[in-house]
């Protein structure tokens, strides 16, 4: 009956609905799943698993999500659990935090993390610090999620990366998935975590399909927060990255492989707590490090990684100074040629690798 109604709604929605119905039936060995659908399924499963979980944000309910990440959830769970808010970030973020304090498990969506700046006091002062200030009396099980960083043609006010800002604060866990598997496993972990988690998605990754194994499709598939993943093994140099830049690192690695340079590509998965050990272990093997991020250079993710390496055991294994590949230190321009040159491109990574390796 539900699928009949789906069919009558609209063609596109119907197709997706059918695909999903098939999906929840008997999943085949491995499937292609977009990051968007992985997030959607993760939220769906967690909403079903725990009654206290609910989603609030702008356009998450009746609009199916500004980027369609919450598609179908309102139809399934209704007004009580999928809540459309007015355009008042500070207010609804505070409401979400209060609800978490009183026993619920909210997922608070920011349409993009740029708007989270309006609510950043609630994220930091009301959510992150409370467990500590109360000496363990008051926990805040909340997830703040939404797209982060540069998109395409949205200009300066809509393109900032907040990984470094949130990564700075104790009391927060900050997560930055790359693949569909990351999105699924990390979002589930974030929702089940009893602490405030900032979940940084990427709009340009939403539509990208990834292969998802049967194991990853299981309802209790979780990726632990705080553990990086080696996406590609290599011996000559370590590339450390998060979110969309992991794709660029892998592409750069493929090009470099043809010239006999084997890059080890680490997908951070979590910004805070930083998995320094994974990076150190890799450097002890490759002796070279290049970090790649979309955000600005000063006081950023790469800056932090480099500082860790300087202070830790891996420093003595470096054969060359570690360097960062970052976004250009400017507000994001609009014109395509300018925008393209404001963020790292594959050639920038290749160039930095060769300079570091002195080839």
């Amino acid at each position: 009956m539900a699928s009949l109604r789906c069919f009558l709604r609209s063609g596109k929605n119907a197709v997706t609905a059918v695909l999903r119905r098939e999906f929840h039936g008997t999943p085949p060995a491995a499937v292609q799943v977009t990051v968007r659908d992985a997030l959607n399924q993760a939220m769906d499963e967690e909403l079903e698993r725990d009654e206290r979980v609910f989603l609030l944000g702008e356009e998450v309910a009746q609009y199916d999500g500004a980027y369609k990440v919450s598609r179908g959830l309102w139809k399934k769970y209704g007004d009580k659990r999928i809540i459309d808010t007015p355009i008042t970030e500070m207010g609804f973020a505070g409401i979400a935090v209060g609800a978490a304090m009183a026993g619920l498990r909210p997922i608070c969506e920011f349409m993009t993390f740029n708007f989270s700046m309006q609510a950043i006091d609630q994220v930091i002062n009301s959510a992150a610090k409370t467990y500590y200030m109360s000496a363990g009396l008051q926990s805040v099980p909340i997830v703040f999620r939404g797209p982060n960083g540069a998109s395409a043609g949205v200009a300066a006010q809509h393109s900032q990366c907040f990984a470094a800002w949130y990564g700075h604060c104790p009391g927060l866990k900050v997560v930055s998935p790359w693949s569909a598997e990351d999105a699924r496993g990390l979002l589930k972990s974030a929702i089940r975590d009893d602490n405030p988690v900032v979940f940084l998605e990427n709009e340009l990754m939403y539509g990208v399909p990834f292969e998802m194994s049967e194991e990853v499709q299981s309802k209790d598939f979780l990726i632990p927060i705080g553990k990086a993943k080696i996406e590609r093994q290599g011996n000559h140099i370590t590339l450390v990255s998060h979110s969309r830049m992991v794709s660029l690192c892998l592409d750069a690695a493929a090009v470099l492989a043809k010239e006999g340079i084997e890059c080890e590509v680490i997908n951070m998965r979590t910004i805070r707590p930083l998995d320094a050990e994974a990076i150190e272990t890799s450097i002890m093997k490759t002796n070279h490090l290049v970090t790649v991020e979309g955000g600005w250079p000063q006081f950023g993710i790469g800056a932090e990684i480099l500082a860790w390496i300087m202070e830790g055991p891996a420093f003595n294994y470096l054969d060359a100074p570690a360097v960062r590949v970052t976004g250009v230190d400017i507000p994001m321009p609009y014109a395509k040629i300018l925008e393209d040159n404001s963020i790292p491109q594959i050639k920038d990574i290749i160039f930095s690798v060769k300079k570091t390796l002195n080839v």
């Binding site: 609910f54 009580k80 809540i83 808010t85 007015p86 008042t88 500070m90 207010g91 609804f92 973020a93 505070g94 409401i95 979400a96 935090v97 209060g98 609800a99 978490a100 304090m101 009183a102 026993g103 619920l104 006091d121 609630q122 002062n125 009301s126 409370t130 467990y131 500590y132 200030m133 109360s134 000496a135 363990g136 009396l137 008051q138 926990s139 099980p141 104790p170 009391g171 866990k173 009893d194 602490n195 707590p273 202070e311 830790g312």
Partner: protein, 393 residues
């Protein structure tokens, strides 16, 4: 002769052991105390309401004595904090509540402990009404391990069950309170949230955002503006284009209440609670009250208002005196009885202060604990790369 002396001495000993006049007087007037009386209370100004709280309030002897004791405990506790601050045993921020006691006690009298409450930084009194003890409050102020937040929160960050602090950022507690109310509605337990803020915070944008959502979603939230006439050093006339704080909720019904009269506050709170519990959505109360101290201990409080003004409120509208006068003039308690309560309260405060000054500070091992809940133990970086500190949930 000896027999007569024995008889006389027996009689004298007998009367001496009875503790003389005191026992006799109490025994006589105990039976004479009025068990309950009805008092006229000020009418509340109403906004978008057809009817307001009743114009009369009943007060039983037990209630009266309990309110008196609690208000006196609050008063003495705040004055002791003042003393300890001047001795530099309490440091940092210390925002005192003396003068406003009727608000905290009256509100609690109008709700249940199973309801929820959140306020800003002038929070010591609410920590008490919500179940904290004077000992743990004072020890938190002095930053000791016996403090209600183990010394890690301080004056502005005290929590108990169903009491969400103690919040330092002006106005931020209001959306939080509405969130608690959302949880109340979601979980269907017929509980509500009392959400307090001051006249200074009342101009914050996030409060209006909260009014909007609370009203849209009919959240069981009582917004209470404690208007003590000054936001730090700025009088209400200089801060707000409209000082009718009970009307500022616009589409939210509101009442303006005499915040110095505990019965007024209690009746208004009961009225507001009934409104929320019946599913009508949020309601707003403005309590007109006054603080004797400055904004905080670093503010003498006399550069923006006159000593005469403070003295006038003390002599004419003090909440504790008002209750005391009411009870005495209606024969609901005796002077001695109330004095006895004063003595007991003083002792309680002294004991608490003694504890608060002698309890040891938190152990350094506790420094990095309580970052995350339900988390395996982890390492936290110290001030230098070689210092790795242990952190447990």
């Amino acid at each position: 002769m000896r027999k007569m002396l024995t008889i006389i001495s027996n009689v004298l000993r007998g009367s001496a052991s009875r503790n003389g006049a005191r026992v006799v007087v109490s025994a006589r007037t105990y039976a004479d105390f009025t068990p309950q009386a009805t008092f006229d209370i000020k009418k509340c100004d109403l906004h978008k309401l057809e009817e307001g709280p009743p114009l009369q309030a009943m007060l039983s002897r037990e209630e009266g004595l309990q309110y008196y004791r609690t208000m006196q405990t609050m008063r003495r506790m705040e004055l002791k904090a003042d003393q300890l601050y001047k001795q530099k045993i309490i440091r940092g921020f210390c925002h005192l509540y003396d003068g406003q006691e009727a608000c905290a006690v009256g509100i609690e009298a109008g709700i249940n402990l199973s309801d929820h409450l959140i306020t800003a930084y002038r929070a010591h009194a609410y920590t008490l009404t919500r179940g904290g003890t004077v000992r743990e409050i004072m020890a938190e102020l002095t930053g000791r391990r016996g403090g209600i937040a183990k010394g890690k929160g301080g004056s502005m960050h005290m929590y108990t069950k169903n009491f969400y602090g103690g919040n330092g950022i002006v106005g931020a507690q209001v959306p939080l309170g509405a969130g608690v109310a959302l949880a109340c509605k979601y979980l269907g337990k017929n509980e509500l949230c009392v959400c307090l803020y001051g006249d200074g915070a009342a101009n914050q944008g996030q409060i209006f955002e909260t009014y909007n959502m609370a009203s849209l979603w009919k959240l069981p939230c009582i917004f209470i503006c404690e208007n003590n006439k000054y936001g730090m050093g700025t009088s209400v006339e200089r801060a707000a284009a409209s000082t009718d704080y009970y009307k500022r909720g616009d589409f939210i019904p509101g009442l303006r209440v005499d915040g110095m009269d505990i019965l007024c506050v209690r009746e208004a709170t009961k009225f507001a609670a009934e409104h929320c519990r019946s599913g009508k959505g949020p309601i707003l109360m403005e309590l007109q009250t006054y603080r004797y101290h400055g904004h905080s201990m670093s503010d003498p409080g006399v550069s923006y208002r006159t000593r005469e003004e403070i003295q006038e409120v003390r002599s004419k509208s003090d909440p504790i005196s008002m209750l005391k006068d009411r009870m005495l003039s209606n024969n609901m308690a005796s002077v001695e009885e109330l004095k006895e309560i004063d003595v007991e309260v003083r002792k309680e405060i002294e004991d608490a202060a003694q504890f608060a000054t002698t309890d040891p500070e938190p152990p350094l091992d506790d420094l990095c604990n309580h970052i995350f809940y339900n988390n395996p133990p982890m390492e936290v970086r110290g001030t230098n790369p070689w210092t790795k500190l242990k952190s447990v949930s």
